[in-house]
């Protein structure tokens, strides 16, 4: 009783709209299980707020990386091991939808989602929660020292001036690596293999993972490549994660041309034991409180248009005007072939 009362009070006080039309059949005291990938992270207080509002416990289950998690969900489709899944991105989500992993639900505040994000996938099977742009990052200090103008476009990367300067990730083992490949496919269409041939001839290096590329090969980390495939939010991350006094501004910047937009979705798992609680959790993920907690924990942008961004984001995160995207169904259909072709071009 007290929990319910407290929930009601907090509900009223919080920014979450607890309208009476919300499916209030969820039982307080029950548990809702959130299956999330390893990068899922929210502040403890924010996580606790769901229980405070609804009286429902949240149990976060690890699914490994996003791919393994979605794979597990597909294998368990219809008899899920959790109630809600968070973190299927646009390269994975279509196959999950096709496998009937999700039970359709239209989030209460779906209307608040930034239109470009909402429009990418026209389905109520899943709800976009956040997005991020994968872009080439530039070590400005290095270019300044060498007296070279940094590249300004994807095409520039094949210019001999930038020979042996770029490190990318293997698209088969790294999510940003895959996003960058998709960006080039979106940009160059059928001639993408030619672009990659030129990249190879220009000495592109392939790392196994983002961590390897960013923390070993990238020049600020002591590597030899001043251009790396990373995120539009890497510069603010540099400030936030800096040890000691953070620098006034990041030493790296973002090449805003040829960025690929990754959108992360959440959905109610079909066959859930707690459908009402699951729906509440989706609504909560889209609430302003959670949305505003997302940037500094996961270093992605909130899907909600009215979520306030932290200062470090507004100052240093690159705003990508025209991100590259490929429709989810096309990815689901062609990915295997693209990866095989990529292997071939890179001589693997």
């Amino acid at each position: 009783m007290i929990v319910r009362l407290l929930g009601a009070v907090l509900c009223g006080a919080s920014l979450l709209a607890c309208t009476s039309s919300a499916p209030q059949t969820a039982e307080p005291g029950s548990t809702v299980r959130l299956l999330a990938h390893d990068s899922f992270l929210l502040s403890d207080e924010v996580l606790a707020s769901f229980t405070a509002q609804t009286g429902i416990e949240v149990q976060v289950l690890a699914g490994g990386d996003a791919g393994s998690m979605v794979a597990g969900a597909i294998l368990a489709a219809g008899a899920p091991t959790a109630d809600v899944l968070f973190g299927a991105d646009n390269t994975l989500v279509q196959k999950a939808i096709d496998a009937r992993v999700f039970e359709p639900y239209e989030a209460m505040e779906r209307g608040t989602i930034t239109p470009e994000i909402a429009d990418y996938l026209d389905t109520d099977a899943v709800t976009p929660i956040d997005y991020g742009d994968v872009c080439v990052n530039i070590d400005d200090a290095w270019f300044e020292r060498e007296g070279i103008t940094p590249p300004a476009s994807l095409e520039d990367l094949t210019d001999p001036r930038y020979r042996d300067l770029l490190v990318v990730q293997d698209p088969a083992t790294s999510s940003p690596g895959l996003a960058f490949l998709l960006a080039t496919i979106s940009r160059f269409g059928d001639s993408w293999p030619d672009y990659w041939t030129r990249l190879r001839e220009n000495g592109v290096k392939v790392a196994g993972s983002w961590t390897d590329a960013y923390y070993s090969d990238f020049t600020p980390a002591g590597g030899e490549r001043p251009l790396v495939v990373s995120y539009a939010t890497s510069p603010p991350a540099e400030i936030v994660f800096a040890e000691g006094t953070p620098p006034a501004r990041p030493s790296t910047s973002v090449l805003t041309d040829g960025c690929y937009r990754q959108i992360e979705y959440a959905g109610v798992l079909a066959g859930t034991e707690n459908p009402a609680g699951a729906r509440l959790l989706i609504d909560w993920l889209l609430s302003r409180r959670v949305q505003e907690d997302i940037p500094l924990n996961m270093f992605v942008f909130p899907a909600r248009s009215d979520a306030q961004l932290p200062q470090v984001f507004t100052d240093f995160a690159a705003q990508v005007e025209k991100p590259e995207q490929i429709p989810a169904d096309q990815i689901a259909m062609n990915l295997d072939e693209w990866l095989a072709r990529w292997d071939e071009i890179l001589g693997r």
Partner: protein
């Protein structure tokens, strides 16, 4: 002739209870290995799986992986056998410490080992096949050292001396006397190293350059990138096939074990030899410790300066991805549960292997988890026991169960030889004094079995501490194990994440080292070969 008969375990009446003991390990393996695999196959395999088996590319990967694994085996033997000789046949200060040290890489998370080697050798050996081979040798040295060493310590040094007096040079004596005596153990070690290298994943990911592949890495790529399950099933099927084949051949060709005492090495008599031995020991020690030291160094360095900022984080846990302290406590809890479970199951399997034909079959099947990828096992377990109608997740037993499965082959490998080499004369004496069969059996094998189970349980616990594949699938997000937490930290930006990951790795190393040292000591004190 009394002696010869007395050695035969079958002359001691097998207690009824033991005749059916094989049912327990058989049930465990069926429930937690065969059922999850069957469920997984039921979900993913379809006509496309069969088509997938006809894929030339898949067979090419299998061929390349086999070549890679054979090379790993060869290198591990060439480097491992001389080290085994040094550790088991020469006496010098710090010999036992070195032996424990050599075991640590085997039980550490492969990702940590590969990362350490890459940090250490990155400038000399670029990522790729070379570094993968080095990592495989480093990790698998313990397999060769332990398996071959156990046999080597039973080769009577006087037999070699006799060969020498008959005119054999040291090398000839080694080739014509020692090697033939070690042959079956070298074969067994080679098979295990082959299986580990053939199914390698973490090392391929971290030390490879994307061009080095195993069927295991194909499985992961097909499941978690392409979401191509029938294709993944085809790769998994092929992998299990190859591994089973290798294990069957090894078990078949295993020659009968010789019973004999263990010969402790004596200090070398000649000063020149002594100097040589110490120099080799130092070289081996440096070789073994350098990668581990790299990690230890990383835990106290940032940007080329000394720091102790990461260590307090282990207790404070402000790192976001999960509390290190909690993960340590959890991992130790899981390790203890795994140790108990694995030693019970493995001990029963070994005991029944002694008592019953079915038991010997079960002990053979118990080796099978070696070839089933931990990640596959994890997903299968989740599908079979992670949801209704049988949801064991809340019990917290899923990870210990999966870890026990991974560790049971090792327990069997330790326990079966120790038991078969125990003379049953004490049991016969007890029987003539009127002891009932179970009592007589226990009088005979109990003391050895107890030590073996404690030691094997310790080994299983060490394996559990470092296991990543299954835990990553089965752990709850808010309650990661230490290796899962390390992996998460390594995937996150920031010096802090890396520093704390290094600290956790050091703690894992230390705990493992102590555990292995204690096991060795126990075996030595009780005179049981481990």
């Amino acid at each position: 002739m009394v002696g010869a008969v007395g050695r035969d375990p079958r002359t001691l009446t097998v207690p009824v209870a033991l005749r059916y003991a094989w049912l327990v390990p058989a049930g465990f393996i069926t429930a937690f290995l065969l059922i999850p695999i069957a469920v997984l196959i039921g979900v993913v395999a379809d006509a496309a799986t069969l088509t997938g088996l006809g894929d030339i590319g898949l067979w090419r990967v299998a061929g390349l992986a086999a070549t890679q694994a054979l090379t790993s085996v060869l290198l591990t033997l060439v480097i491992g056998i001389p080290i085994t000789g040094l550790l088991y046949r020469c006496d010098f200060q710090g010999r036992r410490g070195l032996l424990a040290l050599a075991t640590v890489p085997f039980v550490l998370p492969t990702v940590v080992v590969a990362l350490a080697l890459r940090t250490l050798l990155g400038d000399v050996v670029p990522q790729g096949l070379g570094l993968v081979l080095i990592a495989h040798v480093y990790v698998n040295l313990a397999v060769v050292i332990r398996i071959v060493g156990a046999r080597w310590s039973r080769v009577d040094p006087r037999t070699v001396a006799v060969a020498r007096t008959l005119g054999a040079s040291p090398l000839t004596a080694w080739r014509t006397v020692t090697v033939p005596a070690l042959r079956s153990s070298i074969g067994a070690a080679a098979a295990v190293v082959f299986v580990f290298s053939f199914t390698s994943l973490g090392i391929i990911a971290v030390a490879g350059d994307g061009t080095v592949r195993t069927l295991e890495s194909v499985i992961v790529r097909r499941t978690s990138v392409l979401l191509d399950f029938p294709g993944a099933a085809a790769a998994a099927f092929l992998q299990v096939l190859v591994v089973t084949l290798v294990l069957v051949v090894t078990v078949r060709t295993r020659s009968p074990r010789t019973v004999g005492r263990t010969w402790n090495p004596r200090p070398a008599a000649r000063p020149r030899t002594r100097i040589g031995i110490h120099a080799s020991a130092i070289v081996v020690g440096v070789m073994l410790i350098a990668p581990l030291a790299t990690m230890a160094l990383a835990s106290v360095r940032v940007d080329g300066a000394w720091t102790i900022t990461w260590w307090p984080e282990l207790l404070n846990g402000r790192i976001g991805v999960g509390s290190p302290q909690g993960a340590l406590i959890r991992s130790i809890g899981i390790a203890v549960a795994t140790g108990i479970l694995a030693s019970l199951i493995g001990g029963l399997a070994a005991a029944s292997a002694l008592a019953h034909r079915a038991g010997r079959t079960v002990a053979g099947i118990g080796l099978l988890p070696l070839g089933v990828s931990a990640a596959t096992l994890g997903v299968g377990t989740l599908l079979a026991f992670g949801r209704d109608p049988v949801d064991l997740r809340a019990t917290g037993l899923l990870i210990p169960i999966a870890h026990a499965l991974v560790a049971v082959p090792l327990v069997i490998a330790v326990a079966v030889p120790a038991l078969t080499e125990t003379s049953n004369q004490r049991g016969l004496v007890a029987a003539t004094l009127g002891a009932r069969p179970l009592r007589a059996w226990w009088t005979c094998y109990g003391p050895v079995l107890r030590v073996v189970m404690i030691a094997a349980g310790g080994l299983a616990a060490a394996v559990s501490l470092g296991e990543f594949g299954a835990a990553s699938v089965l752990a709850r997000a808010d309650s990661p194990t230490v290796p899962v937490l390390i992996e998460r930290l390594l995937g996150r930006p920031g010096d802090a994440s890396f520093g704390v990951a290094a600290c956790l790795s050091v703690v894992l190393m230390a705990v493992t080292l102590v555990l292995v040292g204690l096991i060795d000591r126990l075996g030595r004190q009780r005179g049981v070969p481990l």
